[in-house]
Symmetry: C2
Subunit: 223 residues, 2 copies
DNA sequence: AGGCTATGTTGCTGATGTCAACATTAGTGC
DNA sequence: GCACTAATGTTGACATCAGCAACATAGCCT
C-alpha cells in the first residue's frame, strides 16, 4: 500500500479534493489556488487539469461534497435529539447553523458564486435534497399537530432562510462578539431564532392588511 | 470644470470607487481588479495605491458605502409604506431583500470576507446602524401593541437573519427558478417569509421543552 | 511485443497584486 | 514671482496565478 512515489498517483482526484478542503479550511478560501493545491498533493502545477477542467470545477465539486457532509451532520443531529417531531425539526435548524460555524470556509464555498458557475445543476440538486429533509420533518410536525401552516413548502423556506441568514451573519463576523449575543453560544442563538419563528411575534389580534400595492399603482388596463 | 486631462486627476479616490462599483455591478465581483479599476478610471495601474493601501481596503470602503446605500433605500421604503408600524417594519425587511436582488454583487461585497479583512470595524458599525433601524421600528410595533416579544433585540435579530438568509438564497441562485417560488416575485417571497415570522408556526397549545442539554451534560459543580 | 490512452510534467503566455524608483504637480513660505 | 516639499501619478520589475501546448511515462488491451 506504500504509495510508491510512482509517476501515477493512484487517486489524485481524491487527493486534490482533500488537499483543497484542507487548505480552505485552514487558511480560508482566498488561499485556495490550483497550484497550491497541487503542491499540497505533491504533484506538478498542471496535474489537476487531468481531473478538473478548471479551478471553479474543483471548487464546485467541493461544494457538492460539502452539502453531503452537511446532510450527514443533520442526520446525526436528528438522531441525537429527543425524537419528538418538533425537536427533530429544531435539530435540523440548529445543526445547519452549527455546521456553518464549524466549517465556515466550506459553508462559504457551498454557496459561493464561483462554485455555482460550473456546477449549478448539481448544487441545485444538493440544496434540494437538504430542503427536502427540512420540509419532511416540518410536515411531520404538522401531521403530529404541533405546528400548523398553509404551506409546508413556504414554512420550510422561511425556516431555511432564517438559519441560512443567521449562519452567514455568524461567519461573516457580523456578530461573534458580544453586542447581540449576550454571551450565548451559537447554538443558543440559532435556537432562539428558530423558536421566534415557531412562536411568532404577533400580539393577539394582530392582522396584516392584504398585500398592499407598493410597487406600481398603475394597474389599470391590466385584466 | 472641464477636467483638463491633467496629470492630477482631481478626485481619483472617488473615481476609483465609482469605477469599482460599476465594474462589480455590471460584471460581477470576479471582474473587480485593481488594474481593471485603474484602467476604467483612466490612470496607471499603480495610481490606486496612492489612495488605498490594498485591494481589500478599496473593497472594504465600497462595502461601507454599500451599507449606506442600503439604509437610504430602506428609509425610502419606509416612507413609501402606508405608515402603520407593522407595515413600516415589513417594508424594512422586504426592502432589504429587494436591495440584495437589485444589487447582488454589491450585497455580496458588503458581506464578503475580503472586504471585512481591513474594514471590519467600520463594517461592524455600518451593520449596527442598519440593525438599529430595524430594532427601533420593531420596538414601535411593540409599543403600538401589534407585536410582542421578550426581547426586541432578539426578535430583530431573528428578522434580520430571515431576510439576510432569503436574500442570499435568492442571489446565490438557490431559487430564482420555479420550484419554491411558484411564480411569485422576490418581494412576495420576502414578505411571505416575514409574515411567517410574525405569525409563527405554532399550533395552539404547542410548547417547547426547556432548552435541552444537547451540548455537554457535565454541569455539576457549576453553581 | 506493440500500441493506445490516461495521467503527469515542463515550459509558456497574459494577467494580477504589490514594491521601488522616478516624474510631475500643487501648495507653501519667502 | 520662486524655490522647496509633500501629494499624486507613472514606469518598471517580481512573484504568483490560471490556463494552454507539447512532451513524457505508465498502465492496459490485444
Amino acid at each position: 500500500m506504500a504509495k510508491s512515489q510512482a509517476y501515477h498517483h493512484g487517486d489524485l482526484r481524491r487527493a486534490l479534493l482533500d488537499a483543497a478542503l484542507k487548505l480552505i479550511t485552514e487558511q480560508g478560501v482566498d488561499k485556495f489556488t490550483l497550484r497550491e493545491t497541487a503542491r499540497a498533493a505533491g504533484v506538478s502545477h498542471n496535474a489537476p487539469y487531468r481531473h478538473f477542467p478548471s479551478r471553479s470545477h474543483l471548487l464546485g465539486e467541493l461544494a457538492v461534497e460539502g452539502h453531503g457532509m452537511l446532510r450527514e451532520q443533520l442526520l446525526k443531529a436528528i438522531e441525537a435529539s429527543d425524537g419528538t417531531p418538533l425537536e427533530k425539526l429544531l435539530a435540523i435548524g440548529v445543526g445547519y447553523a452549527e455546521f456553518a460555524m464549524q466549517r465556515p470556509a466550506m459553508f462559504r464555498v457551498m454557496f459561493s458564486s464561483e462554485a455555482a458557475r460550473d456546477e449549478s445543476a448539481a448544487l441545485q440538486m444538493e440544496r434540494g435534497k437538504t430542503f427536502g429533509m427540512l420540509e419532511l420533518e416540518l410536515a411531520h410536525c404538522v401531521t403530529a399537530g404541533v405546528l400548523s401552516c398553509e404551506s409546508t413548502s413556504d414554512a420550510a423556506l422561511a425556516g431555511w432562510a432564517a438559519m441560512h441568514g443567521i449562519s452567514f451573519l455568524f461567519i461573516d463576523g457580523g456578530m461573534q462578539d458580544r453586542p447581540l449575543t449576550g454571551g450565548r453560544s451559537t447554538k443558543q442563538i440559532a435556537r432562539m431564532v428558530l423558536e421566534t419563528l415557531v412562536f411568532g411575534l404577533r400580539q393577539n389580534g394582530t392582522t396584516i392588511s392584504a398585500q398592499p400595492e407598493t410597487t406600481k399603482p398603475l394597474r389599470k388596463a391590466k385584466k
